[in-house]
Amino acid sequence: DAGVTQSPTHLIKTRGQQVTLRCSPKSGHDTVSWYQQALGQGPQFIFQYYEEEERQRGNFPDRFSGHQFPNYSSELNVNALLLGDSALYLCASSPQRGWDNEQFFGPGTRLTVL
């Protein structure tokens, strides 16, 4: 049973560019959350998707947007990249039922903005 997978592993972009990160949830999970982990910091919640809709959003600007597909996979898009967007982006999945259960995290995508 595959866990949460993310692609790509690493990504280098320049300021002003746009980036798309991808996530496939663990089998049986229908809810996907995205977190940003800056160097030396704990993960910060970006947003969560369920039933192809954004259910909750953290304190991130509109440059950060997402999408969930019918197969529950998800994308995170960041426009007009800033140097401060350099971070590890983590995707986590969970079942909607029993929302107090643990979230399963993917290995992350390391984004570097030059």
Partner: protein, 115 residues
């Protein structure tokens, strides 16, 4: 606002000795608490959680955590540390203000176990 604090940036312990990684929380209402571990270039791995019930929670890889409501703490413990336990540990609390399961993380504590 809800928050989690990990007061130690780094904890050093000798292999075979007991270890404790500290976590305190601030939430309104009953807390749902979690511990995750992160190895280099890896995502977060779930260790254990406290939802309700016994204050001593047992988790993966021999770790346990003690929930203390009066001290608003949820310290991670292991009776005998292994070199392979060296990693970054995160305490997290569920955002009780939402029904999405959003996690609020502490800053993390690096555990260094020396042979």
């Amino acid at each position: 606002a809800q928050s989690v604090a990990q007061p130690e940036d780094q904890v050093n312990v000798a292999e075979g000795n007991p270890l404790t990684v500290k976590c305190t929380y601030s939430v309104s209402g009953n807390p749902y608490l979690f511990w995750y571990v992160q190895y280099p270039n890896r995502g977060l791995q779930f260790l254990l959680k406290y939802i309700t019930g016994d204050n001593l929670v047992k988790g993966s890889y021999g770790f346990e955590a003690e929930f203390n409501k009066s001290q608003t703490s949820f310290h991670l413990k292991k009776p005998s540390a292994l070199v392979s336990d060296s990693a970054l540990y995160f305490c997290a609390v569920r955002d009780v203000g939402s029904n999405t399961g959003k996690l609020i993380f502490g800053q993390g504590t690096t555990l260094q176990v020396k042979p």
